[in-house]
Structures are given as structure tokens and as C-alpha cells.
């Protein structure tokens, strides 16, 4: 689609949009890339008491430089505890701490109920495109109360049916998670390069919640492989100067992830 000149990039917009989703005092599970920037931005802007947490076992990392992987030594610096994967995932499956974790995920495909594919396109045994696989995504999506998903907004990525079901969203709608034996919670927001999508209270179906400046609801529907309710769509307030300054100067001055 056509992209207008703006004084901020779409990646910056996406990072800020995700940062705004994070509540203070939450434990933020983040993966590699833009989700780390979102967590760092939130901590520096709106959620100073949030705790940054990695599946590798690092909790409350002091991120003086942006890590380029969740196992980057930068996540090990000045943590509360340096543990391992066993402790990290137990913290999310744990009844008392897991309910306070917000997970930020990304995927190759998403369906209308927020279920994710990060494994393969085509036949699983010999796929057309092979991706990294679940990593911790299935675990996080299964355990924690809320997840936020980053997606590139393309028709082939917003699909009727996933090629491979890697991580659970709302499964097949109301009561879906309970039916398969999972606890409450699920995806709350999908942040794309075009706008913000959320899930309807009743139907658990994805709807368009906000469009970025200069992006139309119709444009978003065109790039989505299933029908979206567009009625609720509002224009998303663009990043403020303060948000951009912190994101650029405090979080990723080398623009290792922003570019």
C-alpha cells in the first residue's frame, strides 16, 4: 500500500502503540526485536513500575543497551535473579504470578480469534516456508492473562485458517480456551503497521479498533484475509514528541531495531 511521508516511522508507531498497552506494575514478557523496544519504552514512559522479563530466565533486567536476542548478555545485567528457562516458564504457569504477566508476541499468521502460526507455511513435513517455530510463544499464549501481538498487516498473514496452529488465542470463540483446558485470558490487541485490532467481548472475533493517521479502514480490510468489523475504528493518536524522544534516545539510539 502507499505510505505517506511522516515524521515518525511505522516501526516507531508500532513500538509506541504497544508500549501504551502495557499497564504499570505488570510483568512484561518480551521476545526479540520490536517487543523489547515496546517494553523498554513503556518502562521509561508510562509504566515505570513494570518489570521486564525474558523466557531465558532474566527478571527485571536493567537494559542499558537494547538486546538483539532474549539470550543476549544484556538481559543478564543487574537482574533480580538470573535463573533459566525452567524458572521463567514456571513464573508464567504459576497461578499467582502468571496472572500478572502480559506477553508480547509476533507471528507469521494470525486468524480471526487471534490464534498464531510461527512454525510453517504449507505442509508441515516439507513446508513452502519454514519459520523458527514456537520458541516460548505457545507457552506464553497458554499461560498468561493477556497477550499483545505484533503483525505485518498483509492478506496472507491475516488468514481464515492457519497453516499450522502454534499458539492459542481465543481458539474458536467464547469458551474455547476453557474447552481445551486452558485458563482465562488471551490476546487483547493486535498491533500492525496499519492500525490496532482488538477482540469483541462476546464473540472473541477480531475487530478494527484504530487506524493510524492517513490509513483508512477500507485499506486495512483490503489487507485482511477475513471480514473485520470496522464500526469501532477510531483514528489512533500519533506518538508524542516525548514518546519519540525516549524511544529514539533512551531505547534504541543505534537504531538496531528501529531500522
Amino acid at each position: 500500500m502507499v505510505k505517506k511521508e511522516t515524521d515518525y516511522s511505522l516501526r516507531e508507531m508500532m513500538a509506541i502503540a504497544a508500549a501504551r498497552e502495557i499497564n504499570d506494575k505488570e510483568i512484561v514478557f518480551c521476545g526479540t526485536g520490536i517487543s523489547m523496544l515496546a517494553a523498554m519504552a513503556a518502562k521509561n514512559i508510562s509504566a515505570p513500575q513494570s518489570t521486564i522479563f525474558f523466557e531465558t530466565g532474566a527478571i527485571d533486567s536493567r537494559l542499558e543497551e537494547v538486546p538483539l536476542a532474549v539470550a543476549d548478555s544484556r538481559v543478564m545485567h543487574a537482574t533480580a535473579v538470573n535463573g533459566g528457562l525452567a524458572e521463567a516458564f514456571a513464573t508464567m504457569q504459576n497461578r499467582f504470578t502468571g496472572s500478572r504477566v502480559v506477553g508480547i508476541l509476533g507471528a507469521a499468521q494470525i486468524d480471526i480469534y487471534g490464534n498464531l502460526n510461527s512454525t510453517a507455511i504449507g505442509d508441515y513435513q516439507q513446508p513452502d516456508i519454514r519459520f523458527s517455530g514456537s520458541g516460548g510463544a505457545c507457552d506464553v499464549a497458554s499461560f498468561v492473562n493477556r497477550t499483545i501481538v505484533f503483525m505485518q498487516h498483509e492478506k496472507r498473514k491475516f488468514v481464515e485458517k492457519l497453516d499450522y496452529f502454534t499458539s492459542p488465542g481465543w481458539i474458536d470463540g467464547p469458551g474455547g480456551r476453557e474447552r481445551i483446558g486452558l485458563g482465562p485470558g488471551g490476546p487483547e490487541a493486535v498491533i500492525t503497521n496499519l492500525g490496532i485490532l482488538r477482540f469483541a467481548k462476546e464473540s472473541k472475533k477480531m475487530y478494527l479498533a484504530a487506524t493510524y493517521p492517513d490509513v483508512t479502514a477500507a485499506e486495512i480490510q483490503q489487507n485482511t484475509g477475513f471480514t473485520l468489523d470496522l464500526e469501532e475504528a477510531e483514528e489512533f493518536p500519533p506518538p508524542t514528541a516525548k514518546e519519540l524522544k525516549i524511544l529514539r534516545e533512551r531505547c534504541d539510539p543505534q537504531r538496531l531495531i528501529l531500522d
Partner: protein, 326 residues
């Protein structure tokens, strides 16, 4: 016998004697940190074939073993090297070409599988995987499993909670234990009999180590037993699990070793570029790996100035301010 004798040996001997063709191998580390790279390159140099490899999220180590053609079967949760390769390139090619049999799990499932092996249990439970294709799609079909004693008969089993609704968990996924024939991990410090100390995150290395029939530990520093015994709270692996100890500096390079050195962005970026092209990759294998006699020669391909930039700041544990954009 894994008792308290001196287990220090060379990498060439340790790999030759313990890592056999077609053996079930597990390597420690995570994406671009503390992969036992010296051992990985030695396995490539010794042209090991048909390996059945277990890992959770090992990026670089797995991709190089796959790229060099050492691996036939892979059980894994994640094959990526962070920003340097969101999906490992040689891994991706091998799977898409059908040259590599892969069975997918989640990171926690793989961690629990190693933990079960370490605990001497056949399985551990989790809620992760319920309702997903991770349970439905098996990488190794039933007939393959039935004819291979080294594989559990099922990939994953879902059961109802025998304690009813206790802990609000009506259903559980049981993940089968892994007991690799050999596990190789790289640690910061070890003594001659094999006591080991990992600094920073342990990932699943301790579980992988204790689950294995044979354990090779490569270490940055060989220290005296008394040194480790002065602060046993900081050690994770007692010598009773260990078969071989190999002191080898820069043993995790080009991945990072917390408190010692950072990952090498230049190497990892060049690796990805090479991996994307068949010819370039064969040249990479020949020049960097096969033509170097050992890890020392491999490291010596770098000028000291470059290596200096990677040395960890003693306080932060990484190379503060390292240029990482290429």
C-alpha cells in the same frame, strides 16, 4: 566412570571418543549465547554424520551443524539467532528441501523434557500445547517410533487431571523425557574433575547436562577444585555427571559468553550472508572451519584488534558500546 579423577582432555579426543555417527546429541546455550561452538566446529571437522540433535532455542550451533550436513533428525522449539537470523538460514533450507526431519516442541516443553531426563522420570506435565498442532503434527511418524528404541512411542500425550479440578487444570500435556547419549555445554569455569560454574543465565544447560548419559564440558577457565569449593552456592554441576573437561578460551565464539566476551555481530552477519548462498556457504565451510586445525586457529583468523572490541566489560558482562549494526 564419572568419579573424581582428572577428566581434562582435548576437544578432538572428547568428540572422537564420545560423539559417534548417528548418536543422540544435545547442545547447550540459547540463540547467540554460550553455544558450545568450539565443539560444534570440531564435530564438523570430524565429519560426524546422522546426528539426532536435541535443542530448545539454540540458534548458531544448530544451524552450523545442520549446514555442515551433520544432522539427520532435529527435535527443537526454536531455530533462530535473534536479530541476526530470525529464522536460521541453513535450517530453513534443509527443512524446506526435506533434507532434515524436524519435530517441533515449545521451549517449555523441551525444557521439561530435559528436566524429566535429569530427574529420572519418563515424563513431566504442562498445560502448554493444549489445542495446538504441536500435539497434532508429529515430525516422526508412529512407524518410525515403533522401529526406533531411542524414541518414545508417542510425541505428546494429553490426559485428564487425575485430581479432578485441582489447581484449575482439567487437562495436562505429558512431555516425554529426553536422555541424550551426549550433552555438550560451554561454561565459564570448571575444575579438572568436572565441577562447573555457569555465570549469568543457565538457560536449560543444567537440565541438559544431568539428563545425558555422557557429558562434555568445555570451559573458558580451568580452575582449582578449591576455588569452586570456596563458593559452592555459585556452582551448578557436580563432577559426578561429567565425563570430559576441555579448557578452551573463546569456546563459545562467535556466540557470547557472559562476563568474558560478547557475540561477534560482524561474524554473525557475514555468516547469514554466506548461508543464503550455496557457493558462499561451501566457501565459508572450507575456509573458516575445515581448513582450520582447531578452535585456536579458527579464532586466530580474527585480528586481535577485532577480538578486543568483543571483550566483556567486567561490570556489565558484555562489550559495552559494541558496534552491533553490522
Amino acid at each position: 566412570m564419572k568419579s573424581s579423577q582428572n577428566k581434562v582432555t582435548t576437544l578432538a579426543l572428547a568428540i572422537a571418543s564420545l560423539v559417534k555417527d548417528n548418536c543422540h546429541l544435545s547442545i547447550g546455550g540459547f540463540t547467540i549465547n554460550r553455544n558450545p561452538m568450539a565443539a560444534v566446529y570440531e564435530i564438523i571437522r570430524q565429519k560426524k554424520r546422522g546426528l539426532h540433535l536435541y535443542a530448545h532455542s539454540n540458534g548458531q550451533g544448530v544451524d552450523e551443524l545442520v549446514g555442515a550436513g551433520c544432522v539427520n533428525r532435529l527435535e527443537i522449539a526454536y531455530a533462530g539467532s535473534g536479530r541476526f537470523a530470525p529464522t536460521c538460514v541453513r535450517f530453513r533450507r534443509a527443512v524446506e528441501k526435506g533434507e532434515l526431519k524436524v519435530e517441533d516442541y515449545s521451549n517449555y516443553q523441551m525444557t521439561l523434557r530435559f528436566m524429566a531426563g535429569a530427574m529420572g522420570l519418563p515424563f513431566l506435565p504442562t498445560r502448554s500445547g493444549l489445542g495446538t498442532d504441536i500435539i497434532k503434527h508429529w515430525g516422526f511418524a508412529q512407524d518410525l517410533r515403533n522401529n526406533d528404541e531411542s524414541l518414545p512411542k508417542q510425541k505428546l500425550v494429553t490426559i485428564d487431571n487425575p485430581f479432578g479440578d485441582w489447581c484449575d487444570s482439567p487437562k495436562l500435556v505429558l512431555v516425554p523425557a529426553i536422555n541424550p547419549e551426549v550433552t555438550i555445554i560451554h561454561v565459564q569455569q570448571a575444575d579438572r574433575r568436572g565441577d562447573a560454574r555457569i555465570q549469568g543465565l543457565t538457560f536449560a544447560d543444567v537440565e541438559q547436562a544431568k539428563a545425558a548419559r555422557h557429558l562434555i564440558i568445555t570451559c573458558e577457565e580451568l580452575v582449582e577444585e578449591d576455588f569452586l569449593k570456596q563458593e559452592p552456592d555459585r556452582n551448578q554441576i557436580p563432577f559426578i555427571h561429567v565425563d570430559a573437561v576441555v579448557p578452551i578460551t573463546w569456546g563459545a565464539y562467535p556466540t557470547a559468553c557472559y562476563k568474558h566476551y560478547d557475540y561477534d555481530p560482524r561474524y554473525l552477519n557475514n555468516y547469514r550472508l554466506a548461508a543464503e548462498d550455496e557457493e558462499r556457504y561451501q566457501a565459508y565451510l572450507t575456509e573458516k572451519i575445515m581448513r582450520t586445525a582447531d578452535h585456536q586457529e579458527f579464532i586466530a583468523l580474527n585480528d586481535d584488534e577485532h577480538l578486543k572490541t568483543l571483550i566483556a566489560d567486567p561490570e556489565t558482562g558484555y562489550a559495552t558500546g559494541l558496534k552491533r549494526d553490522r
